[in-house]
């Protein structure tokens, strides 16, 4: 037989516990206990008590009346002035256990039961609602009349609220309340208490609904009256608040000038709380006096009167049949044509009602409407719309006289097609392609010619270049070769002129000796050359002193002869001014040499007195100005005036400096326009007969036409501007020989015979050049030198200059 363990150990019972003792009315009381663990065996409970300090222990008289685990002490066993000491003992087979003793004072445990039979009633009279509450005292165990006197307390609250209102009622078992809200449901409870002890529990709840107040209705209000077509009209009102009672509304009206009051003919057509006046009942130019009356059980109420003249309350319906049509104008711009119809009810045909229209539109995403007043027409053309956008359009209307705007018609949408013309795009594409091509070409040009352009923009700084000089040749000292080397064959005339001019030597006195063996000392020549270029000796330092014009010429050649030269001298007129004019005149862009030569002339002239050294050794001025002329193609050649004696010495130098020395000897006179006349200034102060190289005068000689004014030079310049050479066109230049020198500083010039015949002086020049001497003698007297007077002018028409004579003026 299997052994079954119950798992419950058997032991003596747990300790019971007295939980409560209570007396209902001070005459009886009960105690209840809670058993402890039963130890696995049935327990017996026994309650023992003793009174006060008595030692006698009694057992509970009644275990049943108050229920299980209780003990009921009836009247006989209850003594309010006694303190009971109660214990409960639990016993089972094994053992027993006793609770803690409980001291019970009857008077302190009194708590009655709650009252019963609570009933409520309301009574509404004269707009006051009363609440009646009734109840009964709690019953007692021994059925009988409960003669105890209790104190009662009542509490109530509206059903939805939380807070109770507690009212002390006293000893009566009923109560009346008046301050109740109508229409509210209340909940009521009562409780009671004896003189001593505690309040009972609250009775169960009772609720009651207070009926609402019954009032007559409040005033209704007429909201508006409208006529949609100026033939009928409708009025709407707002109903009055009623007290829950059903309310009836009636509309009454009377017309201006009449006493009779009518009732609304039609409450239904226009909906609830409205009145519809049909055509028969509508009169114009008449004021209606309209009121609404609300009636309920308690009474009625009338609204304020509303006066209305139908003429002024016309509010039409919105326009209908709105059509939007996109059309294209001539320029292919789209425009919108709107058409619409007046609302169907409005009788526009008879002229009774005339409507004005207004439309509004906005782009779909836009914020603001643009409103356009259209007037009485029923169509509108709109041009200012953006392609590609969607527009919303609405129209409304109103009578042309007093009246109200209708509601806006329903929204109409229209999308403007984007006018994506192929032509436009093609134009843009072509423009883009062309511009890119142009950019490419420009950049290509820039790349290719960049170098040149840079050179154009930033011209290179000329360095001290000497062209055409072979130092080797200089060393050898062969004059002819040197000359040829220095020859102007294909000598670049123009832009190198300046550089050539650099080669001109400005010979110093001190360096004369050194200069003599110039051929031996090419270095010195170069030095001199360089020196000339370097230093700004002030001698004819336009760029390079004095020799510039010579250099400019294709063939610069010192006339080997100081003998016969035609002096081509620039006539100096008016003193300095002429020089300047000539200088300026000969200034040309293409002839920098000339300009400089001219300048040098001026400079030189100005500086004559101060010149300390001459490039060349000069013969005493008493002798003559030896003027050497170079004329080949070269227009001018420097004319060296110097000692014959020193000529030879000069020549090498000169030859080195000048081109075409041989040519000089040839005495070719071409169209040389200018010659540089180096005139040794005769220093009057200077007593030294020899070598007054103090001054180096260069006379720039222009061949001038016989009958031309010095302004011819200007012309020359103009002409020569055409040629890109330093040469001036010689067409108008002429040469005149120097006949004599007067006073050491006056150059007497011969008129050029040939000039009288032809302006071109080429051949005759040659002739005359060959016979300078003769001519000199011949025409000695007839020519006046360019005297120091400013206004002197050679009657021959050729203009020559005597720089020396003008020197003072230059100062």
């Amino acid at each position: 037989m299997p052994v079954i363990f119950l798992g419950v150990s058997q032991s003596y019972p747990g300790k019971p516990q007295i939980i409560r003792c209570r007396s209902l009315e001070k005459e009886t009381f009960s105690c209840w206990w809670k058993p402890g663990s039963d130890g696995g065996l049935p327990n017996n409970y026994t309650l023992f008590y003793s009174k006060d300090s008595e030692e006698k222990i009694y057992e509970c008289p009644d275990y049943l009346t108050s229920g299980p685990n209780s003990c009921y002490f009836n009247k006989n066993h209850t003594n309010p002035w006694t303190t009971y000491i109660i214990t409960v003992m639990a016993t089972n087979e094994i053992g027993s256990n006793t609770s803690d003793p409980q001291h019970v004072d009857v008077t302190s445990i009194v708590q009655p039961d709650a009252p019963v039979n609570l009933s409520l009633e309301t009574n509404t009279s004269a707009n006051m609602s009363h609440l009646w509450a009734k109840w009964s005292p709690p019953p007692l165990a021994d059925a009988g009349f409960n003669s105890h006197v209790y104190h009662y307390e009542l509490r109530l609250k509206p059903e939805e609220k939380e807070e109770w209102e507690t009212i002390s009622v006293g000893m009566q078992t009923h109560y009346e309340m008046t301050s109740l809200q109508a229409g509210v449901k209340y909940i009521v409870q009562v409780r009671c208490m004896l003189d001593l002890g505690e309040w009972s529990e609250w009775s169960s709840e009772r609720s009651i609904q207070v009926p609402k107040e019954r009032l007559p209705p409040e005033k209704p209000r007429i909201m508006k009256c409208r006529s949609p077509e100026k033939e009928t009209f409708t009025c709407w009102w707002k109903p009055a608040l009623d007290g829950g009672l059903s309310t009836n509304h009636t509309l009454l009206y009377s017309k201006e000038g009449e006493e009779k009051v009518y009732e609304c003919p039609d409450y239904k057509t226009a909906g609830p709380n409205s009145c519809y006046f049909d055509k028969k009942h509508t009169s114009f130019w008449t004021i209606y006096n309209i009121t609404v009356r609300a009636t309920n059980e308690m009474g009625s109420n009338v609204s304020d009167p509303h006066y209305v003249d139908v003429t002024y309350i016309v509010q039409p319906d919105p326009p209908v049949n709105i059509t939007l049509e996109l059309k294209k104008s001539i320029q292919r711009k789209p425009y919108l044509v709107l058409t619409w119809s007046p609302p169907p009810l409005a009788d526009v045909r008879s002229g009774w009602l005339t409507l004005e229209y207004e439309l509004r539109l906005k782009p779909e995403e836009g914020e603001e409407w643009e409103t356009i007043f259209v007037g009485q027409q029923t169509q509108y053309k709109m041009f200012s719309l953006n392609p590609g956008k969607r527009y919303i359009i609405q129209i409304h209307c109103k009578p042309d006289h007093h009246g109200l705007w209708s509601e806006w018609s329903p929204e109409m949408y229209i999308e403007i097609p984007t006018d994506f013309r192929a032509k436009d795009m093609a134009v843009w594409i072509i423009v883009g392609v062309l511009s890119s091509l142009i950019c490419l070409v420009m950049s290509w040009i820039m790349i290719m010619k960049g170098y040149r352009m840079m050179a154009f923009i930033l011209p290179p700084v000329p360095g001290p270049k000497i062209k055409g000089i072979d130092t080797h040749l200089l060393e050898t000292g062969k004059s002819e070769e040197l000359l040829s080397a220095l020859g102007c064959h294909g000598f670049p005339p123009t832009s190198d002129c300046e550089e050539l001019l650099i080669e001109y030597l400005e010979v110093e006195d001190s360096e004369d000796q050194q200069l003599m063996p110039s051929h031996d000392t090419p270095s010195k020549n170069t030095k001199i050359i360089l020196k000339e270029t370097d230093s700004d000796s002030g001698r004819g330092s336009c760029d390079s002193p004095s020799l510039l014009p010579v250099k400019c010429r294709e063939s610069h050649s010192l006339p080997s002869v100081l003998q016969t030269q035609d002096v081509r001298a620039k006539e100096k007129k008016g003193g300095k001014g002429i020089w300047e004019t000539q200088c300026m005149a000969s200034e040309q862009k293409t002839l920098p040499c000339n300009s400089e030569s001219i300048k040098s002339c001026t400079w030189l002239a100005a500086q004559l007195p101060s010149n300390q050294a001459a490039m060349f050794a000069y013969h005493s001025t008493v002798e003559a100005f030896k003027i050497t002329l170079n004329t080949t193609n070269v227009n001018t050649s420097p004319v060296l005036v110097g000692n014959e004696e020193n000529r030879q010495s000069l020549y090498p130098i000169a030859e080195t400096a000048y081109d075409d020395m041989e040519k000089i000897s040839e005495m070719e006179y071409s169209r040389s326009d200018q010659t540089m006349v180096q005139v040794r200034q005769n220093q009057q102060n200077d007593n030294s007969p020899f070598l007054n190289p103090k001054l180096m005068d260069y006379v720039e000689v222009h061949k001038v036409r016989q009958d031309e004014e010095p302004t011819l030079l200007l012309k020359h310049k103009e002409n020569s501007g055409k040629t890109k050479k330093c040469t001036l066109t010689g067409t108008s230049k002429e040469y005149t020989k120097v006949s004599t020198v007067v006073d050491h500083h006056i150059l007497v010039l011969l008129p050029d015979q040939r000039t009288q015949n032809t302006p071109v002086s080429q051949e005759p020049v040659a002739e005359t050049s060959q016979n300078p001497q003769q001519s000199q003698t011949e025409k000695n007297s007839s020519y006046s030198t360019t005297a120091p007077s400013d206004s002197r002018r050679d009657t021959s028409g050729s203009d020559y200059m005597d720089p020396s004579s003008f020197m003072p003026s230059f100062k």
């Binding site: 000038g257 004021i287 002024y312 002229g351 007093h402």
Partner: protein, 193 residues
Amino acid sequence: PHPPSPSEGRGRPGTALTGPPLCGAPEEGCDGRGEKHFPRDNELGRPARKCHTSGMLTPNGKEYAQKIPREELTHLILKLLQAWKEPLSHFNQHIEHHQQLPDDSLSKAKEISNMVHELKTGVEKVTEKMQSMGIISNSLNGMASSEGTGLSISNEANMMSDSDFIHCFRRDSNKVQSYLKILKCRIMPENSC
């Protein structure tokens, strides 16, 4: 108070009277924005309000206006215009002494008087034309301008208060405008009717 807009014989052939609507003040409710802009409507019921033209029997609805003969309608229009001629000038004189009125009120009032006068002249001309064309008969010619009735009516008008005057004028001008339009569309229906 601003004078109300006069009726204008808009669209009437031969009467190119197209003045601007003179209804400018919001309190007149002229912009038609709602009855709250018609506060004077509640004053309309004052019992004293009675226009001097109230005695005239005029059709007070579309059907009536369409039914009565053209001659009568034309006659009625002229009568109304005539009835207002004198009161308007009187009114103008009256308000000239009002210092508290803004300046443009005076000028507007004069303008209105002129417009009414021109309108009357125009209607008379048109009536003559119509009569000559046989559109309407001449039967009522003699009754058009009876100075006697006009005088008594005018006397009444001079007694009116300013606001009543304006109210009555507003109404009658609207009447005249409506009648003219009806008449126009009756006689020449194709002209935008």
